[in-house]
């Protein structure tokens, strides 16, 4: 009797830390829901976006979340296509993180469009010339692929003990994993880069219009996506105290990420050299001058995007003295993630800050597109982060994300 009561007690017991965490997530989500309702009710009028800066914080979140979800396709491809079975133990978790990233992006996208009730239009009314149409399709297809990839994990949870046929089906689905990884790779290669193309093809915007845009987007995603997965696996280990993924795998991912970051930095270097030093076309120079004079673009570019976002994480990921310590790996991932978010912000808002010029005369100039997110925009952003954290917490707590039984 005595033992059973203590057992019951144990089950109900929630530590103060857990309670604080749940409370924190709850507050975030509440703020998000209130802001979202306000936006749906009043329209985008209550945001700080304008006709000259029609995209802002939310698009930055979309782009960042999708880039950060890139760990899923990268690590799936590594295991199922390149045959590096050693990385098997992290694939489930990577797909889970990817799923959170992509669902986050879709949620924010629905907030961002003027007619959320018509969110389904891209699937019915096709414009095959539009990169945004292609991205919408790819994101939805990829979300489905991740769900199918992930179905066996959900089927393994205790809830399905009673339904063996679900497990049977899931097992069958699992055999599709290599094929799903292949499709996932193809689709990801398409949309991760087309997100950059969304900007790169707009010929009227001087600092966007360049062919390097898609390449830089996909490279940074491949570099930072796995790093985030790695860092979250380490944090999960810290919090739960259980073994998650073997350390040597995490270290290998960090090293991979470090090299990818350096390649990304290398491409960025040539992009910068070609555009500003060698190219120096009048419109581009003018645009960069404006950004330098009137915004912290230059500072945030060098400090957050390049030094803290590329070089520092690359050092932490590659130098043995640092990458043996999980603490440095998490720190490196944090900096890399910040770098990528700042990069997406700089691309979006920086590009829109530069006014269009089309008048045949000499004096008429549109004012620079000033933008800083308003309260509802921050609120939705906080809610979205809360959603991500809630999903992570629930997944780590209730799903067998790190079990290794599929090794054989």
């Amino acid at each position: 009797m005595a033992t059973s009561t203590t057992n019951d007690r144990k089950r109900l017991y929630i530590s103060p830390a857990t309670l604080t965490w749940i409370g924190f997530i709850g507050i975030c989500i509440t703020i998000g829901l209130v802001s979202a309702l306000a936006v749906f009710w009043n329209g985008l009028y209550i945001t700080n976006m304008t006709d000259s800066v029609p995209w802002g914080l939310w698009i930055t979140i979309d782009l960042s979340a999708i880039a950060l979800g890139a760990g899923a396709f990268t690590l799936s491809a590594v295991v199922y296509l390149f045959g590096l079975k050693r990385f098997q133990p992290i694939v489930r978790f990577a797909v889970f993180v990817g799923f959170i990233g992509y669902s986050t992006a879709l949620l924010t996208l629905v907030m961002d469009i003027g007619r959320p009730d018509r969110f389904w239009h891209p699937w019915v009314y096709w414009n095959i010339h539009s990169v945004l149409w292609e991205i919408t399709w790819c994101i939805t297809i990829y979300l489905t692929i991740m769900l199918v990839e992930f179905a066996p994990v959900i089927a393994e949870s205790h809830f399905f003990d009673r339904y063996p046929w679900v497990r049977q089906g899931a097992k069958y689905l699992h055999r599709l994993a290599p094929m799903l990884a292949l499709i996932g790779l193809a689709i990801s290669l398409l949309h991760q880069s087309s997100l950059g193309a969304t900007y790169g093809i707009v010929k009227s915007r001087p600092i966007w219009f360049k062919p390097s845009m898609p390449i830089m987007f996909i490279l940074s995603a491949i570099a930072v996506g796995p790093a985030l997965t790695m860092a979250l696996a380490i944090i999960a280990k810290w919090v739960t105290g259980k073994k998650s993924v073997p350390d040597d795998i995490l270290r290998s991912i960090a090293r991979f990420s470090g090299f990818a970051l350096l390649i990304y930095g290398y491409i960025r270097f040539w992009d910068l050299a070609a555009v500003t030093y060698y190219g120096r076309t009048p419109s581009v120079s003018e645009a960069f001058n404006l950004l330098r004079q009137q915004t912290p673009y230059n500072f945030s570019f060098w400090v957050f995007e390049i030094f803290l976002g590329v070089f520092l994480p690359a050092i932490l990921f590659l130098v043995p003295r640092f990458n043996r310590n999980p603490g440095y790996l998490v720190m490196g991932a944090l900096f890399a993630v910040t770098g990528i978010v700042i990069n997406r912000w700089n691309v979006t808002v920086g590009g829109l800050f530069v006014p269009l010029s089309y008048s045949p005369g000499t004096i008429y100039q549109l004012p620079p597109g000033k933008y800083f997110p308003g309260l509802p925009e921050w609120g939705v952003a906080i809610g979205i982060i809360g959603y991500g954290l809630a999903m992570l917490t629930l997944g780590i707590r209730y799903l067998p994300l790190f079990s290794k039984e599929e090794h054989s």
């Binding site: 003027g114 096709w126 089309y358 008429y364």
Partner: protein, 289 residues
């Protein structure tokens, strides 16, 4: 010595020969097909939009609507702005009333009129409707085909389909598009002095822009009026202009007012280097730009 033993021998079996030769021949055929065949994707995709406006369109309706704006004649009276805002019921902030610095989002007209100077310092007035590009960036980027080319070259909006992603606003090089950030509650100050609303107000959350008064063109043609010649079928901004700085008509018809103006005057189009092929031509000031 051991190297000699493992020397690679190049033995070409019939099977290998067929595979290599077949691949090579196949790629030549595919390359040829892709560059010149009907599937040459990028070239033909790009041309489609233009052809929709010029060739295919001229076969079906025979028209391609365009406008010529004479910068030399324009006196900057803003009548076109007002008539446009009344006729199409566009939300425009009157500068004195709503242009305070706190107004973060001034409502811009479809048709702007601004003061300008040439490079030599001569003042002139510049106005800009939607340019109805033959190769419009906005049409290309729209994910749902809510904005598209009509056969007569007009770039039209489908307000029932637009999802309000605002990509077209970002892609338009001429700042011609306007998003409805909120439900309209304003009283249009230009009605009825400058005309009456001939079209519905657009709902919240969609993008809108100048239509070349498409409702007049369509209704007018049905009743036998010729846009550009008869007032009933001509855009409001053209009709109201007190100095005749704007002319409208069929670019495909060599005798139309627009074709005549383009033939006889020195005209330019805005940012021609972008390859957007606008349907609006500007007669430049006599002193040059």
């Amino acid at each position: 010595m051991s190297k000699k033993k493992t020397k690679i021998k190049l033995e070409l079996t019939r099977r290998d020969f067929l595979i290599v030769g077949g691949t090579a021949a196949g790629s030549v055929v595919v390359a040829q097909f892709l560059t010149t065949g009907p599937l040459s994707p990028f070239a033909s995709f790009k041309q489609q939009q233009v052809e929709g406006g010029e060739d295919a369109g001229s076969l079906i309706t025979g028209h391609r609507w365009g406008m010529v704006i004479n910068l030399d004649k324009c006196i900057g009276c803003e009548y076109c702005l007002r008539a446009c805002s009344a006729t199409n019921d566009v939300w425009v902030d009157i500068p004195s009333e709503n242009n305070s610095p706190e107004n973060k989002r001034p409502e811009k007209p479809w048709n702007i009129v601004v003061e300008e100077k040439t490079s030599t310092g001569t003042p002139f007035f510049f106005s800009r409707p939607c340019l109805h590009c033959a190769d419009a960036p906005c049409v290309e980027v729209c994910p749902v085909k809510a904005t598209n080319h009509r056969e007569d070259g007009l770039v039209v909006m489908n307000y029932d389909r637009c999802i309000g992603c605002r990509y077209c606003e970002i892609a338009c090089p001429y700042d011609a598009r306007k998003f409805n950030w909120q439900e309209r509650t304003d009283v249009n100050p230009y009605i009825p002095t400058w005309g009456i609303a001939e079209v519905e107000r657009r709902p919240r959350g969609v993008v809108e822009k100048c239509t070349f008064c498409i409702h007049r063109i369509d209704a007018g043609l049905k009743e036998g009026f010729m846009p550009g010649e008869d007032l009933e079928a001509t855009p409001a901004c053209v009709n109201i202009c007190p100095v005749g700085a704007r002319v409208f008509g069929d670019l495909n018809n060599p005798n139309s007012k627009v074709s005549q103006a383009i033939e006889t005057e020195a005209t330019i189009r805005l940012r021609e280097e972008l390859g957007t092929e606008p349907s609006v031509y500007y007669v430049i000031p006599k002193e040059g730009l």
